[in-house]
């Protein structure tokens, strides 16, 4: 049988090489099919909301504040911003906390009460409007922890850290634990962030006109305004509040530009989805065509051999012997083509699913070719050989 197999391969060498080339192309198509379409979408901003970022990075502002001048005015401005009824002002400024030994909390935020209501963050038996406040003047600090810390602390526990506003020891009182699986959305990255391992300290509170509180106030201005108004309207309102208080020059950034850019990205992504779907359909059709071509070529090779099989039958081979030769030929051919395909897929960084799909396709090709040739053998070979033509 090996001799007959060799003969078949030798006789069909050119077709064999052609099939190998075709198989390589076939594999590329599969790699194309395997390409990732779209990434999972991020959590976008609330529809119709515009983000405006304001910060205190202004030279005149810093100069005033650092010297303690107009401290009361800036405090009033901050209170006006955070309680203004035409928008939601959310401050979420990170700060470091250290223990004696090491950094204790990885994620810490100074936030306004609006932060919790804006993102729908809740804590069991706790009202953020009334219970979440600190007196920075008297150095009494309340803290809300994420649910991950529930196993370590209880409400009412106190702990001491360094390096909050100063390098001095600072004692925090735990007032609540945020409910499990609460999230907030990063206004820039739009990523949903779990609150489970976060700690939150109120940014509003009684302030003293000392250096620490002035630093805190400076930090506090860094926040986001969520409004249905456009950036220009929001900026106008901010300037209005500044004028009202009699102080100015907060830096106002139109984060909507970023938002727009993200919108473009999303639109592009949607377009990519459509293109991907289109390519997906085309590649599937192409794959089926290629599979049919390979199947057809194999069948034609074996059809050509049906005359020889008829001779084999006459000379004492059984049908099952010929079927074994046929199957060995198709299998050996597909096996080599398959190996070539796997190499091509690996080089093209295709996935295991891609390889699995290919194996399935080859199984189908082998089955179709084998059945087709079996049928050809049954119908044609003898009639080609026996029977005179008078």
């Amino acid at each position: 049988m090996i001799k007959e197999l060799k003969r078949l391969l030798r006789k069909n060498m050119f077709l064999y090489i052609f099939l190998l080339l075709l198989t390589s192309a076939f594999s590329f198509v599969f790699v194309l099919l395997d390409n990732p379409g779209k990434e999972d979408g991020y959590a976008g901003p609330i529809s119709g909301m515009y983000n405006t970022y304001i910060s205190s990075y202004d030279l005149s502002y810093n100069a005033y504040l650092k010297n303690g001048l107009s401290f009361d005015k800036y405090t009033d401005l901050f209170n006006s911003l955070s309680t203004y009824d035409k928008w939601e002002y959310v401050t979420q400024t990170s700060f470091p906390i250290k223990t004696d030994d090491d950094v204790f909390f990885s994620d810490n935020l100074l936030v306004t009460n609006n932060f919790f209501s804006h993102y729908g963050i809740t804590a069991e038996n706790f009202d953020f409007n009334t219970g979440f406040s600190s007196s920075y003047a008297e150095k009494t600090y309340s803290i809300v922890l994420g649910s991950d810390y529930k196993s370590m602390y209880s409400v009412g526990d106190e702990f001491t850290t360094f390096d909050f506003l100063t390098d001095e020891e600072t004692t925090f009182t735990i007032v609540a634990f945020v409910d499990k699986d609460c999230y907030y959305t990063d206004p820039y990255s739009k990523e949903k962030i779990s609150c489970d391992n976060y700690s939150f300290i109120p940014i509003l509170g009684e302030l003293a006109n000392n250096r620490d509180c002035r630093d805190l106030l400076e930090k506090s201005f860094s926040g986001f305004i969520f409004s249905e108004k456009s950036f220009f309207e929001v900026e106008k309102e901010i300037r209005f509040l500044e004028n009202e208080v009699g102080i100015g020059s907060l830096k106002v950034v139109d984060t909507d530009n970023t938002y727009r850019y993200q919108e473009w990205s999303k639109r592009y992504e949607r377009m990519s989805d459509e293109v991907y779907d289109y390519i997906n359909k085309v590649t599937w059709i192409l794959s089926i065509c290629l599979a049919l071509i390979i199947g057809f070529l194999l069948t034609s090779i074996l059809y050509k051999e049906s005359y020889t099989w008829g001779i084999y039958l006459m000379c004492g081979r059984s049908i099952s012997d010929i079927q074994k030769i046929l199957l060995s030929f198709v299998l050996s051919l597909c096996l080599i083509c398959d190996l070539v395909s796997i190499i091509v897929i690996c080089l093209s960084k295709g996935s295991l699913i891609c390889i699995a799909k290919l194996q399935f396709m080859y199984l189908v090709i082998v089955a179709i070719s084998y059945l087709a040739c079996h049928r050809v053998l049954k119908i044609n070979s003898l009639s080609l050989l026996i029977g005179g033509k008078e």
């Binding site: 039958l313 006459m314 004492g316 081979r317 059984s318 026996i386 005179g388 008078e390």
Partner: protein
């Protein structure tokens, strides 16, 4: 019991017609062989004559076990061939029967030597023995100088001699010849028929299917067929 005996042998083909709507038309059948009874002794040389489509080739196919009868019994040396399994049937074709057909049935990409040795290659026979037996036949049939040639390099008569050599390689007791001179000129046809006659004289049973009465005249007995039956 005879060397070959056919009892009420029938072969039917199904001709499947496309089914029409709202009809229960069943596939129609064509009877290729109709209740054939035949008894042959070892060493007989019979010619079966008849028009195209009368069933000559079908009869040879049944005796050559390339086709299973629809009904009836086929005995070979008292063995009911109908009951044999596929392996036994292929052994029968390999060792007991030699085929000679009109268009030679040679494998194009094999040399004359390999074509003649083909039936031996299906058995576990040493290369040395294969070489001896093939060489002997090549000499007997006067084609030893063509051993390494391919079929397309041979004349019709040479091709047919190669086919006869292949049919004889396993020393069969029966040769089935279907229009063996159909593709040859008259002189070469006569050569081939003389060759078959000489083989018969050596004790080989020959069943010859032909439409040519001159070719049939080489046989000891002529049977005529029409519509699947002996006349």
């Amino acid at each position: 019991m005879s060397y070959i005996q056919l009892d009420n042998l029938t072969v039917e083909y199904n001709i499947i017609k496309r089914k029409r709507k709202n009809t229960d038309e069943s596939p129609s059948k064509k009877i290729a062989l109709n209740n054939i009874n035949l008894s042959l002794e070892n060493g007989d040389f019979i010619a079966i004559m008849g028009k195209s489509g009368c069933g000559k080739t079908t009869l040879l196919n049944v005796i050559g076990t390339l086709l299973k009868p629809s009904a009836g019994d086929f005995y070979y040396n008292d063995i009911l061939v109908n009951n044999l399994n596929e392996k036994a049937l292929s052994d029968y074709r390999n060792s007991e029967v030699g085929f000679v057909v009109q268009h030679y049935a040679l494998v194009d990409d094999m040399t004359v030597y390999d074509n003649i040795a083909l039936p031996l290659s299906f058995r576990h026979i040493s290369k040395k023995e294969i070489k001896e037996r093939v060489s002997s036949l090549l000499n007997k049939l006067d084609i030893s100088d063509k051993a390494l040639n391919y079929p397309f390099e041979l004349s019709g008569g040479e091709k047919q001699r190669v086919a006869i050599a292949r049919a004889l390689i396993n020393n069969p007791s029966l040769i089935l010849a279907d229009e063996p001179t159909g593709a040859l000129d008259e002189a070469t046809g006569k050569e081939v028929m003389n060759l078959l006659k000489s083989l018969n004289k050596k004790g080989i049973t020959i069943i010859l299917a032909t439409h040519d009465s001159d070719v049939a005249s080489y046989a000891n007995k002529i049977l005529r067929m029409r519509d699947g039956s002996f006349i």
